[in-house]
Amino acid sequence: MAKRKAKASRVRSESSSKAAKNSTQVMTYDDGEDELLEGDDDDAVISASEEDEGGSDDERKHRKLLEAISALGGKKRRKLAERSEASVQVSEFAVSAEGAGEKISLSDLLGAMDQTPSAVKSTKKQLQNLESCKDTLELPLSRQETEKIQRKVAFEKTSKDVSQWESIVKQNQRAEQLVFPLNQEPSGPKPVEHVVVGWKPRTPLEMEVFSLLHKNMQPINDPLLTPMEEASLKAMSLEEAKIRRAELQKIRALQSYYEAKAKRERKIKSKKYHKVLKKGKRKELLKEFEEMRNKDPAAALEELKKMELARMEERMSLKHQNSGKWAKSKAIMAKYDDEARKAMQQQLEMNKELTQKLALPPESEEEQEPEETEVVPDFANDAQAAADPANPWMMGKLSAEPAEKDCGGDDKESAVENTQNEEEREPEGDEEEENEEDVLLREFDEKRKSRRPDDDALAPPFQVDKEETEGEKKEEPVCVSSEDEHEGEVVSEFKSLFQKLLANGHESTVNKGTGQDAKESDAEEPALLDEGLSRVRSLEDVDELLGQGLVREHAEDVAEVKEKIPTTAEETKNERTDKRKKKKILDLNDVLTRDAKVISVPLAPTAIGEEEGEGDQRMLVQEAFAGDDVVADFLKDKKKRVEAGKPKVVDLTLPGWGEWGGVGLKPSRYKRRRFRIKVAPPPPRKDRNLPNVIISDARESSVAMHQVSQLPFSFEKPEQFECSIRTPTGHTWNTQRTVQKLTAPKVVTQLGSIIEPITRDSLDKSKAQTRGKKAPDIVLASAGAEGQGPRKGRRKAGENNARNLRNPRRRAIKRTK
């Protein structure tokens, strides 16, 4: 049964395949089909089955023929129904369907149609068309086959899809360096524009701020200048700006100068100085007032009013009435103490002065001014100060000032000039007083200046001073003290500090000098002295020998200084310079002589040692290498090698062959000549002209072990390989930057960062990059469009650089472009 079934199916398939064949002949494929059946295999399969089917067809015909023949025999056998298809053709009750094997033509069916008049013409026509068309529809493919085709299509599609990655994969493979995780954002703060571009105000406050900014045309992206500011900048010319700047500079310099001056003056503690200063100022004010009265009466009146006011205040207060605490205490002392009395007197005088009525202005200009001067004056708007003739700044000589300040002589001269001017103006004034004051002021000035060099730490005087102090301290602390007494102001702060620092040293030296307390100090610091005993002894000797003389010298010097106590300004000046010179000379001498002495003692033996040392060295070397005659050894070695390299005569003579042999018998000369083979001499040695070189061509196994025996893979020529080895990469031969470049690893990963697998985003990005070459750059949403042009360009360049770093291939491409 099953077999029959199979046969039947075969029949059907045959017919279908035939139909298919027909269709292939007649019909042209439509596009979809074409794609599906592209493969040659399918055609082949189909054709194969056709042949197969054809074979079975013959067989079947044959059988039918046989049946027909048997039927001819007359016996009408009942024919068993052949079941070729389920249920359609064969009923279960062995009723065979008629015309099973034949085709039903469309016309058979249409016959009935013709008879019914109600049939529509159009359908008729259609049907007729169909009838005329002799093609049959194709049989659907088997499931396996369709699936196979579907799979194939799907696979092709996917592999095409996947191939998109190829570019990025290749790029990564070729990259000189890959930094994982890929495509990470550059760290660090982003430029402002980047942040601003994507940002929009959301909260009401932000909105408000933004609207304000917009209203004022405040630039958002380029926070440099508003248009207003720019306009104002443009309006101002360069020269104007320069002048303005110079002015500002000048004012600033003046201010700082005056500040410094006020500070300095405030620091001066001498009462006498201040007193004199005040007096001088008062006088000056008086003068000014006088002048003002002549020139500007209104201002003078104002001044007068001020003075009046001060007087009133003084009269109201008990300030100078000898009624304060201080005055009372002084009153007690006044009986015995002259000075207290004087002070009280002074106070009363002051009161009198202040309360005096200002009938005569020249006599009644009062204080309040001194107070003013103490305060730092504001020069920008102070006309009075600007008019000050004593101030060099106001002469418009900015650059001349420091020099003036520095050199004391000039200043003094100017001071003298000042005084002269004053004298000229007021010849009727009390000259003596004036002189006195001036002298005092000048003295202070000078002292200040003498201090100056130390404060400013100008190199030469500073060093001299230092050495001087050193010398003094080491040699003659007593002397220093005496000097200090006489000219305490001259000694700089540094000096005093240094003195303090070195106090212990001096003391010890003093002690040594006196020789009294030495043992005590010894007892105090045994550990220190233990170490230094021998040294101390030698130093002591040195000190005793040299120190005494120096002390004497110093003493004489001091005596001289004592004699010359300054009385007048000029005298002091001269004396000062003299003394300085003297001191300098003396100190230098001190230092040098002392140094020489101090150094010479320990140095003397070392110098000898050095001389000996050189000789020693040579001796030592000689001794150490006494047995080694390196040169001779080398020569011997070479000779040996040369000998070894020479070809030897090969003696092949065998005694006893062809003649008698035995003890005492030698092979004949002929035989020896015959069988001794001389080898041709080798080519001359390469080192024959180099006496201190041995050249050997022999392969050395110890080296060979480390050598590459055959050309490694990926190198085509030995030269290539050698080249790759020859260039050094280390920092001994290359600069830091080059080493970094040369040794950059191929794959860099960051510690503790997750490396994500490659994603579609990166693919898209890379595509965009390749495509975006011609596309316009991203345009920033900008408020201030002007300022952005260059900046954008810069950013772009930076990005490109960053990209290039990551992608060397692209860089190369660019270069070729």
Binding site: T158, W165, H706, Q707, S724, I755, P757
Partner: protein
């Protein structure tokens, strides 16, 4: 007296802070530094030797499982977390820096066959022998709460593997057929049946027990392509950086790397193992992969080299069933038969932790030197020398002999 003093600007030789290195003036005149090649060769030799001296890859062992570790999963966002499932159905969550088990849950009855973490790292999926797929929260349940899966799907057949989509809430399981699941649904969106099986994004590949590897596209209704090999493939791993390359671990002691567009021939056959290869995982950089084998070793292969660059083994490590390469490219985790999870350095001689700039530079330099002189016989000998246990060694030799014999025939 004349005193001459040598005077130098201290800026030239004094460092600014004590942390700075001493400034050394250099003269790059090549005549002053002769014998570049021999000197660099010596340095390369030393670097190679030091590399071998410091090659101590074993970092730690995590023990706590009560049966063989059958599968592991990496946490996608946390480097310090590792998930492991064992043959008794237990799943453990490990904290790697502290080397402690943070959480234990009885996930399945019978084997935990496969597990994977969701891309966001908030939950993970397990499949087991009890024909279920379970989704679990990554965090441990609070005090008093019971350990319950977020979601559970009962299947008809046993699932043998699971993998999750990189970005969407879709995952795939394999068993008798390959199923694609939506996280929201309890029935598969799509299922492919084409042979039986065990597995990326839209592309799937499965290794079937009928010796085939089958590729699927999640979007298509049918599987794509099938390769039938000589022996069964155990696992398969896609290269994370090269989308069309995958490597499969085969029973015939080899690994095969395929380009999915040309499945007729593998690109490379990686052979060094002496027994069936059970698991394979790519390094996140896609430059190397690690394979775990039944021969109790793991080997690290460069991506397209047919031989491994290093082999790790310990006396106590038995058949290695699963292996994972950590997402920062520094460590390798192996789960083996004797219930331990081991942590290895991916680069045996690498110094762990932060390096100073100078250390880094020195490292780079020595690396470069090694690479430059890699063809020199002595250096090659030292770099290539590895210790192997006797069985593996003898087996290797035996295999070699067999191979030679086959070649001669």
């Amino acid at each position: 007296m004349k005193v001459k003093v040598l005077c130098r600007n201290p800026d030239d030789y004094v460092r600014e802070t004590t942390r700075d290195i001493q400034r050394v003036p250099r003269n790059y005149d090549p005549t002053l530094h002769p014998f570049e090649v021999p000197r660099e060769y010596t340095r390369a030799m030393n670097a190679t030797k030091l590399e071998r001296v410091f090659a101590k890859p074993f970092v730690a062992a995590l023990d706590g499982h009560r049966d063989a570790v059958n599968c592991m999963a990496k946490h996608p966002t946390s480097l310090s977390t590792l998930l492991s499932g064992s043959c008794d159905g237990e799943v453990k969550v490990w904290n790697l820096p502290t080397k402690k088990c943070v959480r234990t849950l009885q996930a399945h009855e019978g084997f935990v066959r496969g597990m994977c973490a969701r891309f966001c790292g908030t939950s993970f999926f397990t499949v087991g022998d009890d024909k279920t797929i379970k989704q679990w929260k990554m965090e441990a349940p609070g005090y008093g709460e019971e350990e319950e899966p977020l979601n559970m799907i009962l299947g008809k057949t046993v699932y043998t593997g699971i993998d999750h989509h990189q970005k969407e809430g879709v995952f795939a399981t394999c068993g008798q057929q390959v199923d694609i699941w939506d996280e929201q649904r309890s029935s598969p969106i799509r299922s492919f049946t084409w042979g039986a099986s065990r597995f990326l994004t839209e592309l799937l590949a499965s290794c079937a027990s009928d010796r085939s590897i089958i590729l699927y596209d999640m979007r298509e209704a049918t599987p794509l392509q099938k390769v039938i090999m000589n022996m069964r493939s155990n696992t398969l791993c896609w290269n994370p950086m090269e989308a069309y390359i995958f490597t499969c671990a085969n029973e015939d002691y080899h690994l095969y790397t395929y380009d999915m567009r040309q499945l007729s021939m593998p690109i490379v056959m990686h052979s060094d193992h002496v027994s069936a290869v059970l698991d394979v995982d790519y390094s996140p950089t896609g430059k190397e992969f690690v394979s775990a084998s039944f021969d109790k070793t793991i080997r690290i292969f460069p991506e397209k080299k047919s031989h491994s660059r290093s082999v790790y083994h310990t006396k106590r490590m038995q058949h290695v069933i699963c292996v994972k390469w950590s997402l920062d490219n520094k460590y390798i985790m192996t789960g083996s038969d004797e219930m331990n999870i081991r942590l290895w350095k991916a680069n045996a001689s690498e110094k762990l932790g932060l390096l100073t700039t100078r250390e880094k530079q020195a490292q780079n330099y020595s690396q470069k030197l090694k690479q430059k002189f890699q063809h020199h016989p002595q250096i090659r000998r030292i770099t290539r020398h590895r210790h192997l246990p006797r069985e593996i060694y003898s087996q290797r030799k035996e295999l070699h002999v067999m191979k030679e014999a086959r070649r001669r025939k």
